[in-house]
Amino acid sequence: MRLGLDLRNETGDQLITKTQQADELGLWAVLIGGRSGTESNAAAQLATLTEHIHVGMWIDGDSAHPHTLAEEIAIVDHLSRRRVLAVIEGNERATVHVRDLLAGRVVDDAVLAPPPAQTAVPVWAASEVATADLTGDLAVDRVTIDEYRDGGESHLFVSWPGPLPVLARHLATRAATPNFPQIVADQADLVAPYLGAP
């Protein structure tokens, strides 16, 4: 299971700083939100300020024509060099419409130009995306991660109140495999401690 960072409640410098740190720490993705029309601005900005992390856009499917939404996603995909993903809330028909356009299909006699950079941009309905609010208490959060991972989720976006290095070391690793050797994270805290380590 891939672990992404849910930053929908972050704005401004905090959003940028956390995204850049998550990028440096090798986290898979961030998920950002914002009022309709502003989420693609934020995504484009973050795309230019990072190198590797995927930029997930949480989009209100009722807020604009699906063609407009697909166009914005495609442009951010180019700006990010194939790192965009989208979660569309609300309108299921919009989700299908956006997904089909991004896949290169003609919809209502219209085609998306330019096509996105990715062959298949991940476009999920909000109901398909698992999210969890972690507590910062690793003993509790380990259980949460295990439950989602063992429940068959492929991706999980989490809000995280603690230092991001802790999330990367203890929980992103744990999410990745069912038999995570906890000793390696605990020992890492000893041999390579970082500011804010538990």
Binding site: N41, Q45, T48, S63, H67, H78, L79, L112, A113, P115
Partner: protein, 320 residues
């Protein structure tokens, strides 16, 4: 030319445009590379002192002409610290004006008020039908959208115009006038008069005379061979517009049917020469901003970056 407050000289800002992020039949390229070069070009423009960089929009065209200007603007703004980035133009009737206003305000909040929202109507029926709209509604939607945005004022705003009704549409709302690229000086002057008259007749909304911008095909060239080359690039770039089916109201030219004649019109209005010659010619125009249209698809990248540098290091100082 625009006389400054002390009457001592004239001011004209120089921007560059139009970045369309295409991969054309003339010059195929990677779209992802095009967006990477947008950021590089913005950085270069800022470094050499260019005032602004302007983006242009179309939808569903074969060459991927940029359909979503605001995220592209966000990327260029993110790569720079002082450069103004604008839309020249965003097709307002195709969008929800409230959403556009919110996104424009967000860009200005995010990037120190460096975003300028230029808006136009659009003219391709297919772009309207792709969004479930009827092109017959475009004037009504444009006026309603401008009213919404003029009330909200999400930042500096311009209206791209090719006709007197459009110039009046901008003037009576106190919005900047952005004049399309291929008009003669006489037509430009007449459009400026229409804009200012409409602003005055409306009771001077906003209190300060709204600015006038002029898009102009422009290149700095030293020799006759370079000049001819630049003019050929200008001409060939209008193949894009021929394909789009564009025709400006006041030229009387049907681009699709009269491609050679229209290219002659474009060439006649282009300003190509040494920086001195270009500056002298620009001095004849009573405008606040000139957007040098240099974003042609044919020139090699080295030629594009060289002319950006020369506009910044040579031309800007002559007109500012």
């Amino acid at each position: 030319m625009r006389i400054d407050d002390e009457g001592l000289g004239w001011h004209m800002k120089i921007g560059i445009g139009l970045w369309c992020l295409q991969s054309t039949a003339t010059a195929p390229r990677s779209f992802t590379q095009a967006y990477a070069e947008l950021r590089e070009d913005a950085e270069l423009a800022e470094r050499v002192g260019v005032h602004s960089l302007w983006l242009s929009e179309h939808h569903g065209y074969y060459d991927g002409y940029c359909p979503a200007l605001l995220p592209a603007a966000a990327a260029a703004l993110s790569a720079t610290e002082s450069l103004v980035v604008g839309t020249g133009v965003l097709l307002l009737p195709l969008q929800d004006a409230d959403r556009v206003g919110r996104a424009a305000a967000d860009l200005n909040q995010r990037f120190d008020n460096r975003f300028h929202l230029g808006m136009g109507m659009g003219y391709r029926p297919t772009e309207f039908t792709a969004k479930g709209l009827d092109i017959a509604e475009r004037v009504r939607r444009m006026n309603a959208g401008l009213d919404t945005l003029a009330a909200d004022r999400p930042g500096p705003m311009w209206v791209g115009v090719t006709s007197h009704p459009a110039a009046r549409r901008a003037g009576k709302r106190g919005l900047g006038l952005m004049i399309s690229g291929a008009f003669s000086k006489q037509v430009v002057d007449e459009l400026v008069v229409s804009h200012r008259q409409a602003w005055t007749d409306a009771g001077c909304p906003g209190g300060e005379q709204p600015p006038v911008g002029l898009l102009r095909n422009l290149w700095i060239a030293d020799s006759e061979a370079q000049r001819r080359q630049a003019l050929d690039w200008v001409r060939s770039s209008y193949l894009v517009y021929a394909g789009l089916g564009w025709g400006a109201d006041d030229t009387g030219v049907d681009f699709r049917a009269q491609i050679e004649a229209s290219m002659d019109e474009v060439e006649a209005s282009a300003i190509v020469g040494s920086a001195d010659q270009v500056a002298d010619e620009l001095a004849q125009y009573d405008v606040d901003l000139v957007i040098a249209r240099i974003g042609y698809d044919q020139p090699p990248r080295s030629a594009l970056t060289e002319v950006i540098e020369r506009i910044g290091t040579e031309l800007v100082g002559m007109v500012a």
